[in-house]
Each structure stands twice: as structure tokens, then as C-alpha cells.
Symmetry: C2
Subunit: 507 residues, 2 copies
């Protein structure tokens, strides 16, 4: 592997190599900073810590120092974590999953705007988030003619590089130099009224350049790093996940039999996490071949489908692997380079493409209600967990949209099927199939009351079915409208009971 | 004007001319029937009444008779009205606005699935609503070679004609014969994995044929009619509507000044109703020229912008005029034919085009909450009003998405700004600007608590501001999460209070 210094092949840029502390000098209190990174991949490893040190020094001197930080999606402890612990973030968008950042948000110490991941780039370019003072972007290298080799996440980098007034690059020697050529950077979406169609008609096509580009004069510093991504380990699929996966795969078989899905299905999107990973692992032993992936984050399960030959190609905006999977990826990168396409998240999550390609979207949820509304973000209605991410981009525009969850949490004290969700991220209009380990509810073409009966009987945990039936029965008899019967005084009472007693069950 | 019989120019089809009662014989109990019509335009005028008579006869004989009815959007009394009064509809989708149909839905006598208007066609074609037995479609005429001239609404007709097993046409002599050439029928969206880009880059372009087409062998009956559309009268813009319109137009000016909107704005979408109409009327005297319309339903206000030369062209899926405006339309149809483009609703409302073109979406709401969630469909959480229509298609994908409403209803007894909406149609992620006669709240780039303060101070009626501030203050102090502070026991209490006392105000 080459060193980070060797990867700065553009002669003119070599003079801009500096320490992280020097680079952080470009970042002042109150600035809006665009940071690279998507699901623990491709985030800057050194500059955030240097910013943190500046913040700590300022705070110790009784001076204010906070930045407004906008990323692709989640980063890791070396970025969100260190900055949040130093109380150095005043505003955060569009997605996070760091424990300290989350606590800051829920304590009211940092403002957070939870944004659809396909919306953040165009809205920043349109000026809706104000100026972007500095972009800090990790790359795998800089070519002799000044083109940037993307690292394991493309995310929002195209827009940050275009829109920020100044650019700091981190060149990370840990990122495989052979990533060169894997990305497909289409950087011409622009703003209306001058937009053109995105000319992708298959998930595996390429329409852009393998390189990120920027005005080299905006680069104020280049920082060399040699540090690995977050590389979280996945749990082996457990019985719960396997059960959910099996139900989805059975459903696929049924849809193929009914002529509503092609034999090789349609391009698969899979949310982040163990259940999503289990669904993909389950496809390994399924009757489906020649699969195609079109997803935000490509994780272990999809990698293994490609390596086994079950999946022909996959498009993503980030590669987020466990340490073992990263090894398999690096070992096979020459074969994988043409089969995996890394795109900007504005392309990956674009409604135009999700609708046209007919994606099968599968995302995790916190809870669903009896009418099929889904909460993906809030704990008990008030506390932010992570964010909506791309789940709304995919659910809203997919050919089929699934939401999955175990039917209970906290040892049974929380039902994931409730009378009314405590926060709405995906409305009844956008949710087609709910799946728990108890069963699957196919909500397509059904009225709210038809959906309620199905969800209660098929998806709810047996411990909660009587309680849900009782709510629904009494709501139907309460004298309100019978389109979406509710008891307004009890709709959120399950959450209140949990807050007060630690259990949603009526004793 | 030609008679309806003269408008059936295809010789082979003349033999299929029959009475509405004869045509209704093809429609049996339990069938799924695709009906044309969008916002009181282009719906069949005769066959629904004939179906009603069949239903009444069956019911009188103690036999079941109900159909499953899927339309473009709302129809009128001669369609939804007569069928609902005869209790002849078991299932209705995707949108309705008829008083009797609404009562049937809210009494639990008819199942209703409220669907995004861009979703209904692809989901029907994909088989998610089962087979479509018969389509009943109004046209303005049939050419000698068997092509169909669309009437004042294209709506879902492309898909109904393609997908239904049998077709009944109503040829309506009241529809202007000079409509020939106004429509742009692109009928090749199809199903994944074989979809192509929609090659529209400007709202005024044409990419299809002026005619609807179908397999002529599927036509089982042609019914001749001579009846006008619903043609509801608009109220003259009142002070309330003018005030809301003025605030939106000021906001446009500000955005142009800030460089975030072009001088001629971006293509305008406007929801149905008096406030929407007032916004368009307000643009007549605004400094903006060379406007472009891209909307679902083109109503009086947009017609007059075109007639005055303020607007260059407008794309819609239906033309729904007051009687006076219809006269102006017919008087000027030769000049309007190239400036107005009637498209299938699947094209008009397509996320691909709404996103690409950068639409400014303006839609009415029933209520919004302090965090920017919007309810467009439900009264007090349980009763269906009309449906989400295309508001979700536009809000979700527009460059700017506005929701407008007077700040109070029922003489002040209902606040349109509430702690939590009683039904969620548009989530906090999809709502950019709220406008009431009190003021405008620009929610872009803001966290939930920042939004709450703005919405309470700018949009709520003064009678409710203290009550909202009190809720928000106590929610912040309640010990829950401070990302989206709520009091779970009170979040829906304003609606409950209205149900119990007829007033949301705390006495």
C-alpha cells in the first residue's frame, strides 16, 4: 500500500499538506462545515479532533466555539463523537447515530434537522442552509492532474466540494488505492430550471466519472491520515432476524408466482442493521438468481451475495463493512470494481431513479400503528434515535416498500405495533408491507380498517393482540369517524404508560 | 357543435353505440370498475346512473350489488353521488370529494383507500388492486381511425384503457370538439424493470400523442351524452385569501432577491380551492412575468394568468373551471391549445418530473402542528374529508413546498395550528413553508424547536398563541426528549376538547 503522502500525486497540491491542527485553523466559531462520511465510512479521521481541541481551548478561555455540521449521513466516534463530547456542534443535519451526539440533541444542547438524504444536497445548493464555509472531505488519493479518488463513501461530497468556499481534504492511506475506478460520479444535477434527466435505466449502469472534482484553488489544506473506518461488527443473524427474512422471501416467491415480480425480483434496497443484513443473508439460500442491488449502504450481506454470484451488481453511496467483510472486499477488489458502483447520495436516493428502476425497499422501523403509519426516528414521541435517513426516499418511491421490526422490544415491555405511532415518518400512504417475526401484513389496496385487522392479527405479538383488538373495537364504537377510528384520549396512552411504568402492557 | 353521434367517426365502432342501461349490463356485482374523471371534469355522465338503477333493482330484490370504483380523482354528483346514495360502492380509491360518498366512508359503509395520485396508475398496472373488469371513460370524440380525443381530464385514462378487460366509452358532445390536439398522451411508462426516463425538461414540452389509444376490440359499448361537467363556481377572493396570497408573493420576491429563485419563479403548482385560486389571482398584479404552470388541476386563476399573458404555458391533468371561466376557455381555445398541455396524472404528478422541474408546490391543509407536520385529510383524526390527492406528490418532491390555511375555522372554535396534528399526511420532513393570514413560517434548515417558535408566533391565531406557548413550554419542561418536546397526554387533547365541547379554546 502507498503512504498518504505518495497518494497526493498532484505536484501543486503537495505544498498544501499540513497538520490537522493547521487545517482546523480555517474553521472558526459559527461556521457551517460540510463533512464527508456516510454510515461510518469515508468520514474525516483527523480534522474533527483538531476542531475539538480548538473548541476545548476556546471554551476553557470562556469563548464561544461551535460549528454547524452537515454530513452525508452518520460518521463515527472520531467525528460526531469527539465534537459532541466537546459541545462543539450547534446545529447538525441530515443524519447521525452517535450516542453523545444523540444525547446532545435530546438534551436540547444541539439543534438537529432530520432531513431525507436525497434532499440535503439540492437544498444546500439552493441556499436553504445558508453558506457552507468549509468542506472537510476524505479521499483515497489525488491524481497527478488533481482529480480526487473517492474513499468508501461518496455521500454528499460532490455538493460539498462544489458549494463550500474552502476545502480541506484528508487523504487516507488505509483506504484501498484500488478503489480508483469503482465510483460513478455524476455531478451535473444542478438546480432548476436547468435540470436534465438522469439517464440511468439499470442499477448497474455508469453515467459519470470515476473521480470527484473541485476547483483546486479552493483547497486550503491537505491532511494525511492512516486510519480505518468505523467497521462495526454485525451480529450473526439470530432466530428473530431469520424468521423475518424468511417471511419476506416467501412473499417474494408469492409475488413472482402471481406475475407481479420478475423471477430475479427487482433491484433491492436494504436499510442498515442486523435484520436487513439477515434478509440479504437469507437470499443466499433462496431460489432467486441474477439479483441486482440498488441501495444506500452496501453491507456484509449484499457483498456476500455478489461474491457468491447470486447478485450481478450493486449500486450504493457507501460501503460499510464489518472488519471481516472489509477483508473479503479488499481481497476481491479487482473482481468487485466493475460490480459495485459508488454514487453520490443525491443520485442513489433520487426519487426519479427509485421510481423508474422499481426498487424493492426494505427498511427497519421503531414502531408501526394499526393503520400502517411508521415511526423510524423517535423514542416515545420526543427523543430522536438516529434520523429518517434514506428510508423515506425509498419507501415513498419504491415498487414495493417493506418495514420490518421484531414485534416487541425491551423484553416485551414495548410493542412495535401501537394504536398510533408517537411520531410519523412514513404515512399510511407510503407503507405497503409490514413484517415482524409474527407474520406479514400486505397492506396494498386496503382501507385503514382492513389494514388494522391484518396488522393486529399478523404482526402484533400475542401478548399485545387483545389489547390492540380492544382499542380498535372501542375506537370503532366511539362515535367518531369510521374511516380511521381512534380514541383521541388513548391513542398515545401506550407510550405514556411506558414512560410512567416502563411497560406498555396493561396489568 | 357536432352531436355525440357525429363524433363517433370510426365506422366499425358506430355499431357499438348503445344506451347507458345496455352498457351497464356489462358491470356486475363485485366488479372493479375504472372510471374517468378528475376534480369534476371528464367523468362519465350517464353510465353511473344506469349502474345505480341496476343496484337499486338488485337491492330491492334482496340481492347484493356493489362495485369497486377507482377513478382519477373526484367526480361529481352524477357519478360518486348517485352511486353512493344507492349504496352501490364497496371500495373507493384514490380520491373523492362527494358529500354522500364521504358520509358512506365515515359511516363505515364503504371502504376507501386514500392514495397518492401519482401512485394509483402504476399500482393498478402492477396488479396491486386486482383485475380491472371494466373501464368507463368519457372522451370528446373518436377519430375515423379509432383514436380517442380526451375530454377535459386525462387523469388515469391511459391506464384504465390499457388495463381493463372491457371498455365503455361515453362520447360527450358538450366537450369542445376543438380540444383535439391539446393533450399530450405519453402512455409508455410501463412497469419495472423496463422503464425509460421521462424526457421532459420544461413544463410546456410535449412528448406523446394528442390521442388516447386502446385495443378497439375491448370496447363493448359506446354511450352518447350531452352534459356539462361539474363546473363549480369559485368564490371571489376574500380578504383572508388575499392576505395569504400577498404573503406568498412577498416571499417569492424575497427569494428572487436572495438569488434562490429565478425572476420568473419556477413552475407553479396550485392545489384546488379558493385560497389557491386567490394566490394565482394575486400573481396577476405581481411583478413576476413569463410564469409557467405545472399543476394537477388548472382552474380559473391559472387560466386568467395565461389569457392575460402573465403565464406562458401550463401543464395539467384536468381543466376544472367555473361556468364563466369555461366560457372564456371555449372562446379562446384556438389560442390556448398550444399553451395548455393536458397530461396523464401519472406524468403530471411524477416525482421524476416534479423534482427535475423544481416545482413550487402550494397546497391547502386542514391543520399543521407546531413542528410542521400537516394533516390534509382527516377531521379530528378519524373522519375523512376528501383525500391526500396530489399534495403529497408535490410537497415531497417540490423545490419549495407551501401549505396554506386560514389560522382558524368554525368561527374561531378550531385552530389550524395545533400541538400535534390528528392525522399525518405530510411529515416534518416535507413541509417547507406554512402560511396563514397571520403570517408565514419559513421552516427550511430549522430544527423542530426552532420551527415551533416560528409557527406559533407567525402563523397561529392570536386567540391560540398563549395556549400553544403554554403547551410548548410545559412540553419542554416535562422531562421527555428535547428534540421534539410533547406532552403525550395532551398532544391530541385540543381535538378531544373540540369533539366534547365544540371548541378547541380552553375556557
Amino acid at each position: 500500500m502507498s503512504t498518504a503522502a505518495e497518494r497526493v500525486q498532484h505536484e501543486g497540491l503537495r505544498g498544501k499538506i499540513m497538520s490537522a491542527a493547521q487545517a482546523a485553523e480555517f474553521i472558526a466559531d459559527g461556521m457551517t462545515v460540510g463533512i464527508s462520511g456516510f454510515t461510518g465510512a469515508g468520514y474525516p479521521k483527523a480534522v474533527p479532533t483538531a476542531i475539538t481541541e480548538k473548541a476545548q481551548a476556546a471554551h476553557a478561555a470562556g469563548k464561544p466555539y461551535k460549528i454547524r455540521m452537515i454530513t452525508g449521513a452518520s460518521t463515527a466516534d472520531e467525528c460526531d463523537g469527539v465534537l459532541a463530547r466537546a459541545n462543539a456542534i450547534s446545529f447538525r443535519s441530515p443524519f447521525q447515530s452517535d450516542p453523545t451526539m444523540r444525547n446532545q440533541i435530546n438534551a436540547g444542547d444541539a439543534a438537529y434537522m432530520d432531513v431525507h438524504l436525497s434532499h440535503i444536497e439540492p437544498q444546500v445548493r439552493a441556499g436553504f442552509f445558508g453558506d457552507m464555509d468549509v468542506a472537510v472531505v476524505e479521499v483515497a488519493g489525488i491524481t497527478a492532474d488533481g482529480k480526487l479518488i473517492p474513499s468508501l463513501a461518496v455521500g454528499t461530497n460532490v455538493t460539498w466540494l462544489q458549494y463550500a468556499k474552502k476545502i480541506i481534504l484528508e487523504v487516507n492511506a488505509q483506504q484501498n488505492a484500488k478503489l480508483e475506478g469503482m465510483a460513478d460520479i455524476y455531478d451535473s444535477i444542478g438546480l432548476p430550471p436547468n435540470r436534465q434527466p438522469l439517464m440511468l435505466t439499470e442499477a448497474g449502469q455508469r453515467i459519470g466519472s470515476p473521480y470527484l472534482a473541485c476547483d483546486l484553488d479552493k483547497i486550503v489544506g491537505i491532511v494525511l491520515t492512516d486510519a480505518s473506518d468505523r467497521n462495526s461488527k454485525f451480529a450473526e443473524p439470530d432466530e428473530m432476524s431469520k424468521s423475518i427474512a424468511a417471511k419476506i422471501i416467501d412473499f417474494f416467491s408469492h409475488e413472482v408466482k402471481m406475475g407481479r415480480l420478475p423471477k430475479n425480483l427487482l433491484p433491492l434496497q436494504s436499510g442498515v442493521g442486523n435484520v436487513a443484513n439477515a434478509v440479504l443473508a437469507g437470499l443466499q439460500d433462496s431460489p432467486f438468481n441474477d439479483l441486482v442491488g440498488y441501495t444506500e449502504v452496501l453491507q456484509d450481506g449484499m457483498l456476500d451475495l455478489i461474491l457468491s454470484g447470486k447478485m450481478l451488481s450493486a449500486s450504493a453511496t457507501a460501503l460499510s463493512f464489518s472488519p471481516d467483510a472489509l477483508q473479503r472486499f479488499n481481497d476481491n477488489i479487482d473482481a468487485l470494481r466493475s460490480k459495485i458502483i459508488l454514487r453520490p447520495q443525491e443520485v442513489t436516493n433520487n426519487p426519479e431513479l427509485i421510481r423508474r428502476l422499481g426498487i424493492i425497499g426494505m427498511n427497519a422501523m421503531i414502531e408501526a400503528d394499526i393503520y400502517g403509519n411508521v415511526n423510524s426516528t423517535h423514542i416515545m414521541g420526543t427523543k430522536m434515535m438516529n434520523g429518517i435517513g434514506g428510508s423515506g426516499d425509498f419507501a415513498r418511491n419504491s415498487f414495493l416498500s417493506f418495514f420490518v421490526s421484531p414485534s416487541v422490544a425491551k423484553g416485551g415491555a414495548i410493542s412495535c405495533i401501537v394504536p398510533m405511532v408517537s411520531h410519523h415518518d412514513h404515512t399510511e400512504h407510503d407503507v405497503m408491507v409490514l413484517v415482524t417475526e409474527q407474520g406479514l401484513a400486505d397492506l396494498r389496496g386496503k382501507s385503514p380498517r382492513e389494514r388494522a385487522r391484518l396488522i393486529i392479527e399478523n404482526c402484533a405479538h400475542p401478548d399485545y393482540r387483545d389489547q390492540l383488538r380492544d382499542y380498535f373495537d372501542r375506537a370503532e364504537k366511539s362515535g367518531g369517524g369510521l374511516h380511521t377510528p381512534h380514541l383521541l384520549t388513548e391513542a398515545l396512552s401506550w407510550h405514556q404508560r411506558f414512560v410512567e411504568t416502563g411497560d406498555m402492557r396493561v396489568k
